[in-house]
Point group: C3
Chain length 253, copies 3
């Protein structure tokens, strides 16, 4: 049995690009199960892709190969990477899409320079199909990372906003807005003392609640989201705000 392969792209599905990637994987690793993660990441939105990947990579079992192709620089000099972290594999461009994996886990990385494991005829604009898919399939079949190319010690990471504390106040910001209109912040639960109050944009949300149902319909609330970070939401609604909106958590006296 081959390992599972997941796909995360900004290709959309209707042009057939995603299916071409799946076909290449199936041709090399016929037993592999390919799970769609998402194909509607914003065009070239590497941060959004990195965020989505952070949510699921560890949930999959060891041996899983996570393919992430949000690749606005395809065909330029950017490197192509494979990573190994906590027994999962990752394949994609070296543009920051693996930022959260690299921050959260020990990793090994290689630059995909051994063309033995690439497709036969590499296009300049579709490395998802011609480089990343065949490499992923070979990893799923058990090829080892160091056969794929030379080690890389400095994969690209983008800057991640960090919360900071001033006196009794933790200052953070919104880093992601999900489909439900929840604002996800960069403030982890561990920084929030019991009884602390949450404010956003001058608006006081009171103390942290446990779940949406602890607010009245249409009311805003703060809660700890499913990945352990402070979120701001409206029960049965959408919270106003943007990535970068400031959030503060004030310790009670």
């Amino acid at each position: 049995v081959s390992a599972r392969v997941t796909l995360l792209t900004d290709f959309g599905t209707r042009d057939g690009y995603v299916a071409a990637v799946k076909g290449v994987i199936a041709a090399i690793a016929p037993e592999s199960i390919i799970d769609d993660a998402a194909h509607d990441i914003g065009f070239g939105d590497v941060r959004e892709a990195a965020w989505a990947l952070a949510r699921y990579w560890r949930r999959y079992p060891p041996g899983t190969v996570h393919v992430c192709v949000v690749d606005p620089g395809v065909g330029s000099a950017r490197r192509a990477l494979a990573l190994h972290a906590e027994r999962r594999f990752f394949v994609g461009p070296d543009n920051g899409v693996f930022t959260h994996v690299l921050s959260d886990a020990d990793f090994q990385a290689v630059s995909l320079e051994n063309s033995t494991f690439h497709g036969g005829d590499i296009s300049a604009t579709f490395h998802g199909r011609d480089v990343f898919a065949p490499v992923a399939a070979h990893l799923a079949r058990g090829v080892s990372l160091d056969e794929l190319g030379p080690a890389v010690t400095d994969p690209v990471r983008f800057e991640v906003a960090r919360p900071h504390r001033e006196g009794g106040v933790v200052h953070g910001e919104v880093v992601h807005i999900d489909r439900f209109g929840n604002l996800i912040t960069n403030i982890p639960a561990q920084l929030i003392a019991d009884g602390a109050r949450v404010g956003i944009d001058g608006h006081d949300l009171g103390t942290v609640r446990r779940t949406y149902a602890d607010a009245a319909r249409g009311d805003a609330l703060a809660l700890i989201g499913s990945d352990g970070m402070l979120e701001v939401a409206v029960r049965d609604g959408r919270m106003n705000g943007a990535v970068g909106t400031r959030v503060r958590v004030t310790q009670s006296d």
Copy 2:
């Protein structure tokens, strides 16, 4: 071989929530094939989800586990359920999403109170990942329903509009509008006599036709849809109307 698992949610895909659910299932039941049913159900639209599920659950083979997570009340006191009906399994919140299954088949139900089969660390807002996914994976591996928690005899069902007959007229209504703009009614084929005429909103559509091609392009028609219910459609177009629009079928004399 593990059983097949299907997923129906309102999560969208781009936040990575769906992939997290798949990863949890794959970690517990590595051989399971996970089929996406839909992830673009309207936010919290339990009726739409119930409708979609009604269309496919019996088409899958015995042993299939159908996971349905449209769960606006997550974290509240609503129960979490697993069902068994006609040798298929169902996992999801007790909010009416299984209404059509419960109406159409004999079933057993349990409340998911045995935390042995849940994830290690249950969030208050993502039971799809922390409760329903692990339970589904255990069912796919052969765990029996009664190990999951105590029996439930009164799972939540929403009210379903029923057609009624007055003299020679059957009165029904539109209960779903599909992507093609077809209006699907609650009037089953069995209630429609040969030669009966269909009217919607004061507009006479004539007798029931066999298929779209039996009308001229752009013309409205009535026909029996693929699940045996009366539909109103426009050939190569979209029919005006809304859920709740009244439809009448008048017996010919």
Copy 3:
């Protein structure tokens, strides 16, 4: 192990039609892995579907069954087909959706008239579920093409615009616009001499570049796309134009 099955439709996912198709396949061929190609093809847009299919069918391994159900004429007299080309199978309506397969490969075709391999109760409006899915599943399990019905030698093809040459100029047109806003033309790389200049709508794009990164951000460029055809694109942007927009390639002197 059953073969892989791919699905290409215009059904959308939220009505549950796609899941019904998958369920039928899984019931007949329980081991088959079903890969979604796309379900968001424009309503009845047979050309778009044909284009998507052209991109991926050969990438999948021999034995794969490609199901394509964009079928505005369902229930009319149009034939239902299965094809065999280069050891892949194809199932769908005889409406031109296989045009590019038929042009690019030797094929055998049959009309799906042997109801032994259909579902038990055929609706007039959902052959995807009642005819194409069961046939696909039987092909995945090894049923041979000629058991499915009588041979067909004239499957429907739509007209495909071809480029032509006048003196030193190749005249072609845009045949597809992808999600990224790239205009894909009908001019293959082989017709483009070194140093030739590309013009679109009276606008000179200069010579053919290798990849997007060879233009400045926001600048238009011409390049050879990943399927070997001339494309017109804007780096990190979307090119204006429509299907049918004329493109010319002028040989340098």
